[in-house]
Each structure stands twice: as C-alpha cells, then as structure tokens.
C-alpha cells in the first residue's frame, strides 16, 4: 500500500471532514469514544443534528463546496432510530446523493454513511481513522473552494470576499 | 546436622530486561500477552505441563515482567508440543502457542537452549532437507537428529527403523518434489537475503 503523498499535494496537508451525527446514536457514540479516551485522527468536525433524517443532501454538497474534503454521516443502526425510521429516509437520500456525486466526479470514499450505535465508541474511532486514511490517499478535493482556512474576515484582518453570496448560489 | 540449603531468591529490578516483553509481543500472535489475568487455564489444559519447570502461566507472567534469562532457559518452551489447547482455552484469547514459538525463536537467536537439545537440531535438519528436495524425510531427519544429539540412542531405534522399512513406511531416499525446484529455492533464498522481512 503506497503511503506516498500524491503529486501536487502539500506534504503536511490534512483533510478536513465534516461529520453530521445524529444526536441519539452516533453523537452519543463519539462522546463515548471521548469518555473512553480512544484517540483518533482530529480531521473530523462534527455537526450535531437530532436525526440522520434531518440531513438534507444539500448539506453534504454545501460542505464539499465550502472546502471539506469529505463528509461523514452517522446515524442509528437500521431498526434503532430514535424517531423510528429517520435513518431509512437518510439511507434513501444517500443512495440518490451517491449517484449525483459520482456524476460530478467526486470519488466515492469522500462521502460515507455509517450506522454507529450509542455503544460503539470504538466504531467512531475506526471509521474516522479509516476515512482520513482513504481521503489522504485521494488528496484534496479540488472543487474551487469558497472557504479556506482563514478566508473569513476576523476583526483586525483584511475583509475578504463575501463568500456567503457565493454559497447561496448553489 | 547438615546446614540448611539456602538460596537468595530476591530479584532486583535492574536484573530484568525491560525490553524483553516488547520483543516477544512484537512477534506474530504474541501481542495479547499483556492481557493475561494469570488464571492458569493454559497450565491446567496443557498435556505436558507436569514436566515443565515453569508452567505456561508462569512463562507468560515472567515474560511480561522481563525475566528473560529464566524464560529462555526454561524447558517449558521446548516441551510445548504445539497442541494448541492453551490457545483454544485461554479466556483472554492469548495465542499462547504462538508465544511459545516466539520464545523458541528468541532462544535460538540468543543461543539460550540446552546443549544437545534435539529440537533446534531437528528444525535445522528439517530446513536443509526441504531446501534440497522440497520435501522432508522423517526417517532421515530423525536419524541425523539422534546422531547429532544422542548417538547411543540410535542403537535402540534400529529395530523400529527396520520394521518401518519392511512395512514400506520409511525410505532411504527422499521423494523429491517434481518440477520447479529452483522456484522453491529462490523463494527461500529471497527470505534469507531480505532479512527485513523477518
């Protein structure tokens, strides 16, 4: 297995992954990973939603558009949804989204759906590490990023391009 | 009245080899060594533990604690018959048979096995034969092994050898592997020249 850095990629590049986790299972599981001190790659940044059924495919597209190199969706195992069947809805949308992403030429491993129960802290660790590893092999997602680290104006910085308007075009 | 036999039994920490457990645990199958809870199931299920100077449980404990000398010189690792009972029974899933293999290999590397002990000799003979012919020949290997370790014993084995010959269960010539013997030798040579693989 090659661990070389793909051409054109800065050697210290680290992928940024946005994770949408449902409140009841996967978010709880990632808390459990914390409580159990299971260290894993810090590349994921979690956005908590009540249910994976809330995840609009547009959230995923927007995350990629905004500069994420990958998106991880975490929900309860089939049959375990706190809201009975939100995860099934998520699964259906995900299947559709996958077709769309493929058509756009976005590599399959970049967007991933995983069922992670509240007790599966170790799975959060495993899945995160694995996903980071795979995306590292793919290199940065070369959509023209709207947001890059530091692109947003902070008090005292030069004001930057208003990216909110661009984002709204999608 | 003769004096009491006394022996100092303290072990000073600096006499232990702190690196030893790590070296063992790095070998395939031995990684779970540290999970041992010292329940002794391995010793109890071992068919030959009654002859061992250290029971398998003690070997694990002493390996973990860094008692390198004692472990590598114990007869335990040579008495292990690879029956895999301990591995199957261990409640913590420690592959104790593999730990024993790892210790055997370390003992050979460190030349810490008993002189004239047949097992390392047997393994070496076996290796030469396989390299030559692709196959082993039990009869020949056993003969050479006994010759090298305990020649007197050979005399006692003659009747058995003859009987095997008569029954067609031992041959003086080794059946050779057909075909591409070169390939096998290349393969073994490759392992010899690529030490990093080991």
């Amino acid at each position: 297995m090659s661990e070389q850095v793909p051409v054109g990629q800065p050697p210290d590049w680290e992928p940024r992954i946005v994770a949408f986790f449902c409140n009841w299972c996967t978010y709880t599981a990632s808390d459990l990973a914390g409580v159990s001190r299971m260290t894993y790659a810090p590349n994921t940044r979690v956005i908590r939603v009540m249910c994976s059924g809330r995840i609009d495919p547009q959230f995923v597209l927007m995350a990629l558009r905004q500069g994420a190199d990958g998106v991880l969706i975490g929900g309860c195992h089939p049959g375990d949804c706190h809201y009975q069947e939100g995860n099934y809805k998520c699964l259906r949308r995900f299947a559709m989204l996958k077709h769309y992403l493929a058509a756009m030429g976005i590599d399959d491993p970049r967007v991933r759906l995983e069922w992670i129960a509240a007790s599966e802290g170790d799975k959060v660790q495993r899945v995160t590490n694995d996903m980071v590893q795979r995306i590292k092999q793919l290199g940065p997602l070369k959509l023209e990023p709207v947001c890059q680290p530091g692109c947003r104006a902070m008090a005292g910085d030069q004001p930057s391009v208003g990216n909110r308007a661009v984002a709204a075009d999608i | 009245m003769p004096g009491l036999q006394i022996q100092r039994r303290v072990k000073y920490q600096e006499e232990l080899d702190a690196d030893f457990p790590r070296r063992v645990a790095d070998m395939p199958g031995a990684a779970d060594l540290n999970r041992c809870i010292q329940c002794g199931t391995c010793s109890a299920t071992c068919p030959v533990s009654s002859f061992m100077d250290l029971t398998p449980r003690r070997v694990v404990a002493m390996t973990r604690a860094g008692f390198k000398e004692e472990v590598l010189r114990s007869n335990t690792i040579w008495l292990c018959a690879s029956c895999y009972s301990c591995t199957v029974e261990c409640p913590k899933g420690i592959k104790i048979t593999d730990v024993m293999y790892a210790l055997k290999r370390l003992a050979i590397q460190e030349r810490a096995y008993p002189r004239h002990f047949p097992t390392p000799v047997l393994a070496r003979e076996f290796f030469h034969k396989v390299r030559q012919t692709g196959r082993s020949n039990e009869g020949q290997i056993a003969t050479v092994m006994i010759l090298k370790t305990n020649p007197l014993k050979l005399l006692r084995q003659i009747p058995l050898g003859l009987k095997l010959l008569v029954k067609g269960r031992m041959s003086l010539w080794t059946e050779k592997m057909s075909g591409n013997k070169r390939q096998l030798q290349d393969l073994l040579d490759y392992m010899d020249t690529h030490k990093e693989l080991r």
């Binding site: 810090p42 809330r54 706190h82 809201y83 009975q84 680290p149 008090a155 | 002794g40 109890a44 899933g93």
Partner: protein, 663 residues
Amino acid sequence: MSQSPACPRIGVYVCHCGMNIAKQVAVEAVTEFAARLPGVAVARHYKFMCSDPGQELIQQDIKESGLERVVVASCSPLLHEATFRKACAAGGLNPFCFQMANIREQVAWVTADKGRATSKAKALIAAAVERVSRAQPLERKRLAVGDKVVIVGGGIAGIHAALTIADAGKKVYLVEREPTIGGHMAKFDKTFPTLDCAACILTPKMSSVKNHPNIELMSYSEVEKVEGFAGNFKITIQKKPRYVHEELCVGCGECVDACVFPKAKFPSEFDEGLALRKPVYMPFPQATPAVVVIDPNTCLQLTKGKCKQKCVEACQRGAIDLKQEPEQVEVEAAAVIVATGFKTFDPRGLPQYGYGRYGNVYTSLEVERMVNASGPTGGEVVLKDGAKPRSVAIIHCVGSRDKKTHPWCSRVCCMYSLKLAHLVKERSGADVFSFYIDMRTPGKGYEEFYDRLLEEGVHFIRGRVSHITDWAMTKAEEGKLVVSAEDSLIGVTRRIPVDMVILSVGLEPQPDAQEVRKKFNISCSQEGWFLERHPKLAPVATFTDGVWIAGACQGPKDIPDTVAQAGAAASEALALIDKGYVEIEPNTAEVDPEACSGCKTCLGMCPYHAIRRDEEKGVAVVNEALCKGCGTCVAACPSGAISQHMFTDDEIYQELEGILSYV
C-alpha cells in the same frame, strides 16, 4: 471592531475543565482566536464553566455587556447544555440563544496532538459562534402528565419499585411474563452475606404487591406496544391465556390432583428441571398470584384436543377455561420502569465442563433449588443416585471473564459461590473445593463472609478449571469427576477428584433484550445490557424521557444494588408525576404556508402522524404537540417550506461555514 447592526453581540466562554481540556487544548490561544470572530463581544476562559462562579460569569456579562448570544466551549451538550441554558435564562437571556462547542469529549480526550487539538477546538468554536448568531429565542411548551406507572418485570426490582410508587399513592401496573412474580430471588434459599432466608424477606413483599390497592398485578402478560411520550404513554399489554380465570381460582389445587396425568412428568421451570410438575400446576407454594396455570405445550386437551378434562370437573368454582384466548389491554402511564432482569449462562456452551454429559455437574441455580428447604430434595444436597457427595467442586467464572463467552465479570458469582460453599458443607458435610480466578468480595460484610468461609475450611484454589473429565489416572480418581486446574499460587497443576461439580454460571442479558429495548426505544450496550443515560450521574435514566431501568437488566448486580436502583427509578418516576408537567424541546417543525405547495410529501415522512394537510388552505400543518423534532420532513420538503426550530437550514449552513472558514 466593525460590526453590522444585524449581528448580535456574542459572548464566548472556553472551559479548562480542570486539566481535562487545558492539558490538550491551548485555551488561551483559543480564547484569543474566539475574541476576533465576527460578532464576539466577550471571550473568556475559565477553570470550570459549569461551577457556580463560571455560570455567574455568563450571567454578569449578559447584564453588563449586553450579550445577546452565548457560546460555551466545554464538554458535550448531552451533559451540560441544560446547565448553561439555565445560566443564560438566569442572566435574562432566552435559553435558546445559546450554543455549545464540545471540545472535551470530541477534542481534548480524543486527540493525541496538542497543536491539532487546538486547531480543531478553534474550528468548533467558530462554528458555534456562526451558528448562534442565527439562533432565535424560543419558548418551551408544557404538557400535563398522568399519574400512573407501568413497571415491566416482577422480580425483586419490579416488586420494590411497584411498592414504593404505590405507597406514594400512585397507581402501578406491574407486568410480569411468568405466571408468578418473584423472579430469580424466589428460587434462592439464602441470601449472601447475611444468610437471610430469601423467602422470608421476599414473600411478604410479594403478597403486599397482590394486596396493594394501588397495584394492578398483570402476571403472565407481556408489553406489546408502547406509544406516546414521557408523561403520556399509551401501552398495550397482552395477557397470555393461562386457561384459568384468575379472579375465580383460589389455588386449592383440586385440579392438579384431578389431572389425567397420574404423576407429575414434566420438568418444573421453577425447580430448574430438578423436579416434575403436571400440565396444570402451581409454580411454587408462595406463587403470586396464588393461581394455577395450564401449560399449553403439555396439556393433552391443548396439544391433542383430546382429554377427559378432569381438571374442569374438579374445579368447584368453574375457574378452568380451556378455551381462553389472549387478551389485549391498553393502559395509560406517565412513566415506565423496565426491570426485566437477566438470564443465567447456559454451560452447554462450554463442553469442557461436561454439563449435560456428566450427571453430577450442576449449575449454581440448580443447586440453589437443591439447598432450598422447599426445593425438590427438601434442602438435601444429593447426587443423582441419591447419595450424599463427599467432595464437591465449585467453579467460578463459568461464562464470565472469558472472551469466548462473556468478557464481563458477573459480579455476584464470587459471593453466591461462597454462600453455596457454606450451604453445601452445612447440608452434606462434604469437602468443598472452590476454584476462583480472583476473589471479588467488594460489599458491606462481603469480605467478612469470605473470612468466615476460610475459617470453615473450604479449600480455595486460585486457578481456572480447564476441564472436567472422568478420565482416571489413579485409583482414587476411578469413578469420580476429575477437576483440573493449576493452583496458581503454588504453581502446580492439580487434579482433584470430586463427586459433584457446581458451575457458578455468569449473568447475561435476557435473550429478548433487543426486542424489549426496541419496544421502549431505549439503547443497549454492546453486550446487550440496557444502557443508562450516564454511567455515573444518571444510572437509572435512559435516553428516552419517562423510561427508567432498574436491576440486572442494566448489568449484573446483586440484590442490595438491585433494590437500590429500583428505589431510585421509582423516585425519579414519582418526581416526574409530582412535577405535573413535561417540557417539550422547542425543536419542532413548522410549515411556511406561503411556500407550501400542498404536495403532501411530508405527510409520509412523519412517523408520528404530526403533519396533516389543511384541505381548505391546501397546505400542510404541523401539530406541535405530536412533533418530536427529528427534522425528516424538513429535509424532504421539495419547496423548502418546512423549517425545524433550533435546526433551521440557515443555522446549519452557518455552522458549516464557521466550521470550515477559519481553521
């Protein structure tokens, strides 16, 4: 600082959590970073944000700096969101103008590299700041709650919880699937470490349950369906046919005597198969309710449809009804307590111990029955051939602490093994050999009990038994069961011939734990035990409001701990009822009638039927009382007409932008 008038003033508070966060995350640098984020008026770091001074810091800033939004970067919102919302409210801010960034569980505790931990913390705080700027003030709705409780499981946990709640004047439905309550405890002779007679302390409680005016005992019944939510559950219970009218039967036993089977010939469940019963039977003399039951699997009439039905004739009260059908009952409850208990490990899974192969290898539960004065042997410890054993081995950890069966320690086996060692020695005078891995006696009076057993002369051998065999090596071993173990304190393998072996089987989840947890919408740990909301701070609560757990269904525990949990669960249920209302998170969905096209896509999305179409206006309408706030309809709406409070698209896009734009 240039700030648009629309951007609210935000305060950011970074918690050190002692060293928990500060060790891994450079809190000062993070605070400095936060101070420069758009809209941030105040940024501070503090040792413990959840402490009183920490909370006061927030309240003070709201008042003095006119903060309109608050972000706390500390632990998980699942732990302290409520705390900080209250602090905001106390400072005069709407509690929903608040956002948490989880930099402990999801950053400090899981990231090895300090620099990268700090960066990740910055990103999460930026996200919270961006998101909170869009937060809207919201109100919580209150719903009145009922005053009844359903308790599932009639073991000692369920019994104790039921009596506690009933004594407080609330109505309890106690649902038990077996024909009688009592659970495992009813089978024991003595309890450790006091050697109290189990029946003496349990049976009075059982009859109190039966006689309590506030308890409706539903034995031989199972929960079918649970609907509703905390304070207002609707629960469907199926009463299995016991072919006896409970209210008519007085438990006289005439029917049992009359049964066409002249002798008992089926293994008694209560006696672990050591005694026999007839198809019509009373589980045990103190069974509660004291009503017979007819087993549909062995009754001739019920299996073959052909029997003289002597039992029907014999019953003068006409209580027997072989045509009884299952019956469904629907009850309302404010709270549910699940106390479904455990199952013991089946040692057939470990063939090396010879259970089922050698007649004199018993499980501990079988021996519990044997030593019980009202048990199948009248309390005598005897071998299969009726003789008294002269030597007995007790093997700990059978199905516990073993990767291939159950990795956990079953927690009660050391103590009950000590108890059985005492009883066996007392009843039979046998030599007892107790094989243990580690002797675990942490409890009040437990170590003292171990002391007592040591004094009584039980042989304790530290070593796990590898196998039990009839393979004799010596004369003395002929005809015996030979137990092999390494005496690990001596370092020698020992073979001990005995007459009887007792396997101290571990505890495991009930086989249908998965189905049960789904019914109540609660979680299970990986092992299959019901998952508590927090292992330390919410040990009997679950992730579903209004549902509590008690006893061994949550994990192996002994009687004192089970009773303590049952009391805790009961008081938490009572607290909910006494409060009189539940507050609903305002994370409900709302339809914008202007944007709604009336396509009805959302209707099919909602599992709670909370959305209907207003036919007059041609738009969808959400019933807030029914909406649980999952947001599935929001994601589905093709015209973007539905939004979810607290999780609007705007808020999430904003969070996304914050999470990616700075670090």
